[in-house]
């Protein structure tokens, strides 16, 4: 059967047989049973439970061979249940003096497995003494196994086992001097290399060695290993001795030895990376990377830079990777230029699987250590040219961000962009970035030869036929901007560009079409254009998303976390933005005051969110984020100002509204980077993405991300059935270290009954925890449940209050009705409080189909054709709650085609509260602007003539992504 399995066929049918063979009395059958079981099943398999009892009987039984079999099985696939029932027995076996070494070493490793899998179940209190005893063992087999066990124990809690430390050193000394080592345990003349390695590994888990005598002995041994290892002919001997050597190196690094020894190590490694043997070269590079943790070796490592760069060109991709990592780690301001240039050069010939990582790292280094900004722009543009396909969008977003934020850089970047576009074959990414830069800044070049708007336009336009649909919008924006910068207007150019816009007005891609139409309309406006197409506002400084990406890409090894640490110590200080905070006349407090005054009226459903933000900006006074609001809001108010005046005279209320929204967009811009409040000042964890937007999205769908920051991601998946719901919270730790003190508290409103299952206190690294949450709806209400979530990461205590998307519409069930059903009911519910009518003003303008889609997404079914007037909507739904059971609700919305900002809404249901609540709920959805927070240039709610700037405008995209 095992053979069938190995050939890759399904052998589920035989699992039961295999497990039952275990309990056979005869040895061969038992043996087969054990071996098949341990190969085929994994620890979570249900059948294993059946075997636990038999296994236990074998372990406590007298028959040694049976014991061995059972221990092997448990050691290989033992899971939690095994740990619970067998751990004490196994511990006893390990310590008993009457057992043969064979059994004892097996039980040591078996215990190791159980402990490693379930440290909470296996009780190891007071094991320190026993371990010390075990280390006196004469049999090297048992000793090897015990040492493995010790490594696991010590890595968990080194303090308890300090008594083992001198013993380990003694063992190591004995082995290194090859005293008293039986012949059969020497391997190619080396006394048990594995035990040596393990012992040194165990020593690495102790922080320091206090006792001077022990320390001296250890260093003598290490010295002997470091110096006494030569390259020999025999491959195996070589490998074994170098295994010991590299472990010794690791130990030396860990112990932070004297300088002298360190430089010895560096010299050794330098020798290794130059040898022919690829294994040694690989390990040399790897250990050099690890060595970077020790600060002062950087200089001595630089001496080997040339050699490392040669390794980068090795045919072996494993070696290349190591070399790249090392170069990335050792790069600093002095050698950045060389290294980045090497990387760029190497990009041409690199293996395809490596190019992405390579270009990412080059981009980060260029950013981090750039001596001047123009160099940085050069590097990135070269990078895009050479490896366009392998570059993520983030890289070019980042360079655009820098160019935008640095006035001095703009002409240079524009000139460069032009140069690149002049080349015959250009990568699409390059077209994107160049078109963007030229669109924004080509006017700065206007005086240079060959850079008139017309010529620039021609250069860009040449590329149009060859690009994909995602790039065309960018090109269109560039055209519009070029057109705007052409003063006085050039009639020919204008016509040319208009022709293009008209052509794309019927494009199948909605994005392109919309832009073409809008730009065309806008560009006819003449002078008013200036404001709309003004240069992009400066971006707020943010941490490069690239670095984060690189960190995510990296695994969770110790060496890499050390690199991360270094990366944090050296913030990208080379690129200080020159003019980040233009002075503005408005003192921040006034601004804030204004905000709080105008905010109150229409923000009731996002209030908790914003009020906390207000607190933030007030407390911090003129926090830089507040400073940045006006510039980013500026073009907006320009936009709104004249247009609102142009609007209908009766729209004063709306004007106020639009100002509100304009001002609101201030905090919204900040919102993306705003601190989740609660602990202002100490808290520096920034959420990724906008919480409000995420919440709104989740109100409409049943699964998605509720919250995300650099450490944690909270996802939600919900199922709703009538008045009950079941949400599952997915708490995902994004980091390589555990999140501790995790606390979740649900603050349910009065109308919801919520029960959260137990949430673990700790979320292990890179793990995801699921917490089911049961919801029962008692009665209609619009209140929202809040999840109070906190965790601790390092020294940061983070507390987040999140609204849970268990909102009214989740308990609705769409119910299409026919005219025969509708009208009798509609008539029977006459007048308040069962039937309510309200005229709603300041509605977000939307077409009728859009509105019916909106209602539909809130689970309210539209019944078309019921109302004779095509401008009216009739809809119905069923509401479920525990107190009321199913209630049918009927909705009628009468819109005014002349003025889309107002409508009359009539709600009817058999329950007065429900009628009221549902009416308010729908009103909120129609009035509020859930998408506003996405872009710094939101569509104002009440300016009918305002051009809707598409939410995925490049600016918005950039601001969002960077």
């Amino acid at each position: 059967m095992l053979y069938i399995y190995m050939l890759g066929y399904d052998v589920d049918f035989g699992h039961m047989e295999a497990v039952s063979l275990i309990s056979a009395p005869k040895y061969p059958e038992k043996q087969v049973g054990y071996i098949v079981t341990s190969c085929l099943l994994n620890e979570n398999h249900d059948f294993l439970r059946l075997a636990i009892n038999t296994v236990r009987n074998d372990i406590i039984g007298r028959n040694e061979t049976f014991q061995c079999l059972a221990l092997t099985l448990v050691g290989n696939i033992g899971g939690r249940e095994f740990a619970e029932s067998l751990a004490p027995d196994v511990q006893k076996l390990l310590l008993s003096s009457s057992c043969r070494p064979l059994v004892r070493k097996k039980s040591a490793l078996c215990l190791l497995r159980l402990f490693r899998k379930n440290p909470d179940v296996v009780n190891v209190d007071g094991w320190a003494d026993r371990m010390t005893q075990l280390l006196d063992e004469r049999d090297l087999g048992v000793l090897t196994s015990s040492m493995s066990l010790l490594v696991a124990l010590v890595s968990n809690n080194h303090e308890a086992y300090w008594t083992c430390l001198p013993k380990c050193v003694k063992i190591l000394e004995r082995l290194a001097r090859s005293q008293d080592v039986p012949q059969e345990y020497t391997y190619y003349g080396i006394p048990s290399p594995w035990l040596q390695v393990k012992t040194m590994r165990a020593l690495q888990y102790f922080p320091t060695i206090e006792d001077p005598n022990t320390r001296r002995t250890l260093f003598e041994v290490l010295q002997r290993i470091l110096m006494g290892t030569d390259v020999v002919k025999n491959v195996n001997k070589n490998n074994a001795s170098h295994a010991v050597l590299f472990e010794a190196l690791a130990l030396v690094m860990h112990l932070d030895a004297e300088k002298e020894m360190m430089s010895q190590c560096v010299a050794l490694l330098g020798k290794f990376i130059a040898v022919r043997e690829p294994n040694i070269r690989y390990l040399g590079l790897e250990n050099m990377t690890r060595m970077l943790i020790v600060a002062d070796v950087q200089e001595s490592l630089k001496r080997h830079q040339a050699q490392i760069i040669t390794s980068l060109k090795d045919p072996d991709i494993s070696i290349c990777r190591r070399a790249l990592d090392l170069l990335y780690g050792m790069c600093d301001i002095t050698n950045a230029k060389d290294i980045v240039e090497e990387l760029l050069q190497y990009l041409n010939s690199a293996d395809f699987t490596m190019r992405e990582e390579l270009s990412l790292k080059a981009a980060i280094l260029a950013e981090k250590f750039a001596p001047d900004l123009s160099w940085y722009v050069d590097v990135i543009l070269q990078l895009i040219e050479k490896a366009g396909d392998f570059i993520s969008d983030d890289i070019w977003f980042r360079v655009v961000q820098f160019v935008t934020n640095n006035d001095d850089l703009q002409p240079y970047a524009a000139a460069k962009a032009k140069e690149y576009l002049d080349k015959p074959a250009v990568d699409e990414k390059m077209v994107k970035v160049c078109a963007y830069i030229l669109g924004e800044y080509s006017h700065l070049l206007a005086r240079r030869p060959g850079c008139s708007p017309k010529e620039i336009f021609c250069v860009i336009h040449e590329k149009l036929p060859s690009v994909s649909t995602t790039t065309i919008p960018l090109l269109l924006s560039a055209y519009a901007k070029i057109l705007m910068h052409t003063q006085p207007p050039d009639q020919v150019l204008q016509n040319q560009i208009w022709a293009i816009f008209t052509k794309y007005e019927s494009c199948i891609d909605a994005e392109i079409q919309q832009r073409a139409v809008e730009y065309f309309a806008l560009s006819r406006k003449g002078a008013a254009l200036m404001d709309i197409f003004a240069e992009m506002p400066k971006f707020p400084e943010r941490q490069s998303s690239l670095i984060k990406k690189a960190e995510d890409a990296e695994g969770d090894t110790a060496e890499q976390s050390a690199l991360k640490l270094r990366a944090q110590q050296q913030p990208s200080n080379a690129l200080v933005v020159t003019d980040q905070r233009p002075s503005n006349g408005e003192p921040p407090p006034v601004f804030v005051g204004q905000l709080s005054v105008v905010k109150a009226p229409n923000m009731n459903n996002t209030e908790d969110h914003y009020s906390t933000e207000l607190v933030l900006s007030q407390e911090n006074g003129n926090l830089s984020q507040v400073d940045q609001q006006p510039p980013s809001a500026d073009p907006l108010s320009d936009l709104l100002g004249p247009l609102a005046i142009e609007g209908p005279p009766g729209a004063t209320v709306q004007y106020e509204n639009s100002t509100v929204s304009g001002l609101e967009s201030g905090p919204d811009v900040v919102d993306g980077s705003a601190i989740v409040p609660v602990e202002v000042g100490t808290n520096t964890i920034q959420p990724i993405g906008n919480i409000a937007v995420r919440f709104h999205a989740l109100c409409l769908k049943d699964s998605g991300v509720l919250y995300e920051d650099p450490y944690i991601q909270i996802g939600i998946k919900a199922e709703w059935r009538a008045h009950q719901g079941r949400l599952v919270l997915f708490l995902g730790n994004k980091n390589t270290s555990p999140l501790v003190s995790v606390q979740t508290l649900i603050l349910p409103p009065a109308h919801l009954k919520m029960e959260l299952s137990l949430v673990p206190d700790t979320i292990p690294p890179r793990a995801q925890v699921q917490c089911p949450l049961e919801v029962v709806n008692l009665r209609p209400s619009r209140d929202v449940a809040v999840l109070d979530f906190s965790y601790k990461f390092g020294t940061h205590m983070v507390n987040i209050k999140l609204r849970l998307p268990a909102v009214l519409n989740k308990f609705l069930q769409p119910l299409p009705v026919s005219a025969e059903e509708f009208f009798p009911q509609w008539r029977s519910l006459s007048g308040p409080p069962l039937k309510l009518q309200e005229v709603v003003r300041g509605v977000r303008p939307m077409a009728l189909p859009e509105m019916s889609n909106l209602l539909h997404s809130y689970r309210i079914a539209i019944s078309p054709g019921l109302d004779p007037n095509p401008n009216n909507l009739v809809a119905s739904t069923t509401f479920y709650s525990e107190n009321t059971r199913a209630i049918v609700c009927l909705v009628r919305i009468e819109t005014d085609p002349a003025d889309r900002t107002q409508l009359r809404m009539t709600l009817a249901s058999g329950d007065p509260t429900l009628t009221f609540e549902l009416k308010e709920f729908i009103k909120e959805q129609l009035v509020s602007i859930p998408t506003v927070a996405q872009a710094p240039t939101p569509a104002p709610p009440a300016a009918p003539l305002t051009p809707q700037i598409p939410p995925n405008d490049p600016a918005a995209l950039l601001a969002d992504l960077l």
Binding site: V32, S148, P193
Partner: protein, 162 residues
Amino acid sequence: MIHFVLLISRQGKVRLTKWYSTYSKKERSKVLRELSGVILTRGPRLCNFVEWRGLKVVYKRYASLYFCMCIDPDGNELEILEIIHHYVEVLDRYFGSVCELDLIYNFHKAYYILDEILISGELQESSKRTVVRSVAAQDSLVEAAKEQTGSTISNIIAHAAK
């Protein structure tokens, strides 16, 4: 620790798998597919380590068989390389100049021997003699049991013949 041990022939046929970490059936076949792709395509004079999904795979080729072991990224690669060699030497001693066919026909023996060398992904015994001795002891137990059953069966056959 070692997460799993694989023996793959040069044609990509799997000869032995042993999993010390928990992998579901689906994951197992995925791992096999990916790794055989990565390892079998590597040239002859490259190093014996491959980085794979944040872990490291140490492999070595003996004749037509690739022995692969997957370890943590901070593990000692050369040590693992020598464990592989150690295993091969023990196989060699047990079978007497081992070849791929030995492992195909006596795959269960290969598992027994591996169990004597590795448990829960750690080295258990580094002495070749001890390992061979204990495997031999197991064999003799099996033989003894076989003789017993064999004789009972021949008795039955004898009875039936009468």
